[in-house]
Symmetry: C3
């Protein structure tokens, strides 16, 4: 942790252009605001442009269009993607990651007919039910519960206290954070005033390769068939995915979104936080749904939506503007009334 790197060395590693003091030296990373004189920081968001010069950071990674020169003693390294470059530097200083050694912890409970690859790690207190399969190099964290006949691929990282119920299918390189629940029953009832009759939920959940699920996410099993999250989608904490939902490939879904039953999301769709999508809707490829929106109709590909109920972002802006025109309208109408009164008096045409 006490290794030091100089600006010249880092510029070379990152393939960036060095400005200012090549001997500026750092032993850690920090944000612009928090950096001390031995830290490296980065400008990844124009919001923080004015924070670069006042920062104490010895070295700052900046984009090409950042023109001010570094003050005496400090250095900039110009990078095409400052955020990616910063991650590389972070790795230099990062503590070694936790190592999950292959093998089954003696305090894990693995059914006799479960298939656990020798290279997999099964943590203390984890419970692997009958017929389940755990692929090569996958990690099942402490106190996880993996249900009957559930199949988990290779190179997965399932953190502590995750629950995956029976017969689900998890691909390769899937990351699932703690507290997440996969395969709980869908919310389906035949309603009646004297009691609601449960509709059996006998389908499964399928999660494809390279998906990441945050902490405390809920993904319900299908009524029949499957609830399906396709390849490469990344889902933040506390998201709720109901039965028979299909999430397309490479979606980005921020925290606390909720997807009602059987809605179908295209590929490369982005969701801000706390969005809700009504059941049985389609959202087209590449759409952007802004935070807190409530989607109540199908969304065409490529649209940007906002509001409750959500409308095209431009329409939302127009509505907001309209609201602000009311005050002016009120005074205009008052003025018209006065003028008309005066005119009627002048022309002696009482109403």
């Amino acid at each position: 942790m006490s290794t030091a790197y100089c600006a010249c060395e880092l510029a070379q590693k990152l393939g960036g252009e060095l400005r200012g003091n090549p001997e500026a030296s750092v032993t850690g990373v920090a944000s612009l605001a928090e950096a001390g004189s031995t830290d490296l920081a980065f400008l990844g968001n124009n919001l923080y442009r004015d924070a670069v010069l006042p920062s104490a950071a010895a070295i700052v990674l900046v984009p090409a269009d950042f023109t001010p020169e570094p003050p005496a003693g400090r250095a900039w390294i110009v990078c095409a993607n400052t955020s990616a470059a910063f991650s590389e530097v972070v790795d230099l200083f990062a503590p070694p990651p936790v190592v999950f050694a292959p093998g089954i912890h003696p305090r894990a409970v693995v059914a006799a007919d479960a298939q656990v690859d020798d290279s997999a790690h099964i943590g203390a207190g984890a419970v692997i039910a009958g017929g389940a399969g755990i692929g090569a190099n996958s990690v099942i964290g402490a106190n996880c519960v993996i249900g009957e006949h559930t199949q988990i691929g290779s190179d997965c990282l399932i953190y502590a206290n995750v629950t995956i119920r029976e017969r689900c299918r998890i691909g390769n390189r899937v990351i699932i954070h703690s507290g997440t629940v996969i395969g709980s029953d869908g919310f389906g009832f035949i309603p009646g005033r004297d009691g609601h009759r449960k509709i059996p939920q006998v389908g499964i959940v399928q999660i494809d390769d390279d998906v990441e699920l945050g902490a405390l996410v809920a993904v319900d099993r299908a009524r029949f068939g499957k609830t399906w999250i396709k390849r490469g989608s990344k889902i933040d904490n506390q998201v709720q995915i109901a039965h028979n939902v299909i999430i397309g490939a490479n979606c980005l879904i921020a925290g606390q979104c909720g997807f009602a039953g059987s809605c179908e999301i295209g590929d490369n769709v982005m969701f801000g936080g706390q969005v809700a999508v009504v059941g049985h809707l389609h959202i087209g490829d590449g759409a952007i749904i802004m935070g807190k929106s409530g989607i109540t109709k199908d969304v065409p590909p490529g649209s940007t939506m906002f509001g409750i109920p959500a409308v095209e972002r431009k329409q939302f802006a127009r509505n907001q503007l309209s609201l602000h025109r009311i005050d002016k309208l009120v005074s205009q109408v008052r003025e018209l009334q006065a003028r008309l009164d005066a005119l009627q008096a002048a022309t002696n045409t009482a109403p």
Copy 2:
């Protein structure tokens, strides 16, 4: 799983009228869109009316008012409730449900003075504290934690990784999905600028017969007395129920709703997803609260509410309409101004 059923056989089982090919045969179920030529599908929602004819499904369960004839080789079965009938067919093809054998897993930890019925199942890693009671045929999933003196009735199904704290009371036939927490402290503090003093939360949670709670639901214990969910209510994933809330009988509450302290919900109330209810309010029997609403006042029985703050659905629609009338108003006022200018000029009455 490879059993095949023909249309004539299924029509008889379901008590439905057969149309088309009586020999049409299926080996599984699927949605209209996903069905292959050996699947049975159903039309449960008019949204999907136009998907019946193009579907490959050999057999489709349809309502009486669906008039098109089945294409050659295919069959319809006319059912009074296609969704209920479909569930019956799903059961024919469903994999056998997981069996939870009676007995205490050797890796469970059960206090000496806990009362566990011989027919109950206590999963691996489950912890049952002193004085707790588990009724006949109830299942406590792996790694659950059941607190001191908590009583769980008979025929309950508590999935893995559920936490129920001390002195709570759970009725019979209650289903609780994974990750749910019952009996955590209510959020109560005496605020102060130099620190907030915790108000003791010494009440309990009572959950009556036939309630179902989804995954990752939070139900706080009462400050005193009880937080209470009455008979037959069904609650979806990630719902938050604060201290001293009363949820009436047979409510249906969709995902991610939040109920603040001491609010009281009548019987047969329905909530869309992500609704919030302010503390100390009453919602009358049979009300419908649409998704994403924020309830800030008492709601009379039978009302349908929407918006933030929520108003009667009709009022919400009127407000939306008003917003769209502003553009027209602006041009009308402009026109009036021009006419008045012209009239003043014509009558030589300068203002």
Copy 3:
């Protein structure tokens, strides 16, 4: 639990003024609505003013400005803070709290190089990883998982099934309710249409003294540096705190709020439920954010905000009012048109 207290005794204990029957006697506490004739209740919220006289409660704690006299046989005790006084009475009748005896349960799994104070309680099934430290009198509930090198101070109460990942720092007297996850990866990716590249999240979470976190809260670790919750803040169930967020001291955050990455909250800020805050924003000291708001801009200290996007509460009220003026505007404009038509006809000045 069968101890009885008379009004005179309780008035003395609470330092309150006694009105009515000094011999009125109680054996328990309840709300005004639920109280029977042997219960004590309190008037803590003016909403319930009209419930005092009809209540069956033998004794009611009332504020000084409550003037009606107690009916025959009943008593009031006048208290400066009825809610605080009620908590004292609740304690008299409360069942004894659960006792967590010092020591490591034989079914816990504690790494050889973890440092657990002799006075700490480690519950059954809890897993304490290498290098972790648990301070004096702290309780780690059953089936919790504490990661590598995480440090937990003294007098902490971590309820069952909590997950805290590696290298986090928890202060003293911190309470964490069940199901909560601390230190999961921040949601950070370099987006690309053919897949999103994960940005390493190598920072930590720091939680200062006297913080309380509800059930099923998610607090992500920082991308670098720390996600930080400062001294004395109280956070309700199911709140989501993203990477690099800073929550100031003594904040009160109601259930299901979400804080996006790097936002910074001042001291003594209050949040209603289901609020969302966009990333990289600042909220000033002492602000009040009303429930369900979406904060999309910096908030000055002391402001009260509401709406999506949120505006000053007064502005929100004005906007609502404007909406209700539209109907009137429409009829006024119609009337002006008619008058102008008539005037033009009368003055023979056709347009």
